[in-house]
Symmetry: C2
Subunit: 284 residues, 2 copies
């Protein structure tokens, strides 16, 4: 298995604090030492760093801790290999271009029985079940929205991703994060938590390192962010567990939509958060 | 305009020495300071680093100089913006997946009049003529080799890339490098040079920095590499200029094929180097 970390903000923020605790799990406080990676979005553009080394020994990880990159959407991953050897091409997140956007994806779980036909446009470069699932999702999005030259409305996109998550989730454990730089999708099969931070900001303390941060010193009154992780990263904040089968879409630092676990053969039904309308989402 | 740097080797080698001189041109010895990037291949897998900062001020460039990544195929670029602002998404090299391989591309030149229909599968994320040309090439390769589930034979690929280079080159200056990790294609419109290094290795001296290296201390008898650059990087080696319109394919550290400038309306004709056969290329 692996662990996931994501952040969605309404203005660019650094993930250094969370990443410090998260990356400790890549060999120091936990056993996810078979590679790591992190994707930072600047608007719709992704800067991706992956490495086959562990996050506690990688010079690249060290650089990212020391030179924080501010971003509105971030997806990070530490790997414990289940399928595919410990090599660069099997390190998450994976990236593909669709509709002129960089899409990135990271997975925690195991999809041993998932073998899509692989006749689509997107093909895995590495040997993981995760990249196979990602390529399948990208192919399905492209096919189902074939009439769109640019990104389809987020509400339709959300429904389709909920359906795909449900379909692929039938084959195993499928906790994942997916982003196009505008929004961040997070799906839970077994294990995923989130914490929202907004004014008034308080002090948070990491579980994996002896490190605290006073967020009120680093944020403005209007700043808003949500951090999502396989397991809570801080000991004194309220992390909420996703329900198994749940998909959430984060935009502007908060939950923009969520879909309850799908019943078989029933179309997804998106629930918009009260503060958002489908029209506002289309511009997210 | 911009400048290009590429390296193709028969066993993984560091580009630190050449990159030291090349990156100095990103604001110190020359004016290409509007972003930079470098793609390293480990087999068919690419690790890509891009930045909107200049190569002489970027902490990422500094890290790459200090922690050399050994690779068999490398493409680097320093940008002087002609089309599109100085932002991350306009920094070369660009990357796309095709046939389960990472393809990377960097361009020096200007293609103001090149506006393909853009109805294909690959879409630019940024605003450069360069990424537009790259996406068009990827689309054309995919369409022309639609019957292939994996990479087509290199000889056919070479012919098609020669045709495309000629076609796009009608719209302006189109010096480029393109790689899939197995081979490196280099096309010259106006300005491109290469130098081959093999046993017995000698000492090389950079033009842009006060730095020399004795390659005999860093290489084995069987090592072989070719470095390709817009302008020669060393003062005491024999750099060969490409002819305008010429495409070369490098494999295993040396020229594997070259195509002379194409006459209009005439199919490309590849000339294989004597030491290579089409069959051997198919396994490169």
């Amino acid at each position: 298995m692996c662990q996931l970390l994501g952040m969605n903000c309404n203005s660019p923020a650094a993930i250094s604090f969370s990443f410090e605790g998260f990356s400790a799990r890549g060999g120091r406080t936990d056993e996810h030492k078979d590679g790591w990676g992190i994707a930072f979005y600047k608007d719709a553009v992704c800067q991706l760093f992956t490495d086959h080394l562990s996050s506690i020994t990688s010079p690249l990880a060290e650089r990212i801790k020391r030179n924080p990159i501010k971003s509105t959407n971030i997806i990070a991953h530490i790997r414990k290999a289940t399928q595919g050897p410990v090599v660069l091409e099997n390190s998450h997140p994976f990236m593909r271009e669709l509709w002129g956007q960089h899409w990135t994806f990271a997975h925690n779980g195991d999809l041993k029985s998932f073998h899509p036909p692989g006749e689509g446009r997107f093909h895995p470069v590495g040997e993981t079940d995760s990249e196979r699932a990602f390529c399948y999702m990208m192919d399905q999005l492209r096919e189902r929205f074939a009439e769109y030259a640019t990104t389809p409305p987020l509400s339709a996109l959300f429904d389709t991703i909920a359906e795909l998550a449900h379909e692929i989730g039938q084959h195993g454990v499928f906790n994942f994060m997916l982003s196009n730089g505008a929004v961040l999708f997070a799906h839970c099969s077994t294990n995923l938590h989130y914490v929202a931070r907004a004014f008034p900001f308080s002090t948070a303390r990491l579980i994996d390192c002896d490190l605290s941060i006073d967020f009120s010193q680093h944020n403005h009154r209007d700043d808003r962010m949500t951090v999502i992780a396989t397991k809570p990263l801080t000991s004194n904040e309220t992390w909420t567990a996703f329900r198994p089968g749940e998909l959430k879409m984060f935009a502007e630092g908060q939950i923009a939509a969520h879909a309850a676990p799908l019943a078989r053969n029933r179309p997804a039904s998106m629930q918009l958060e009260p503060h958002l309308t489908t029209a506002s989402l289309a511009h997210a």
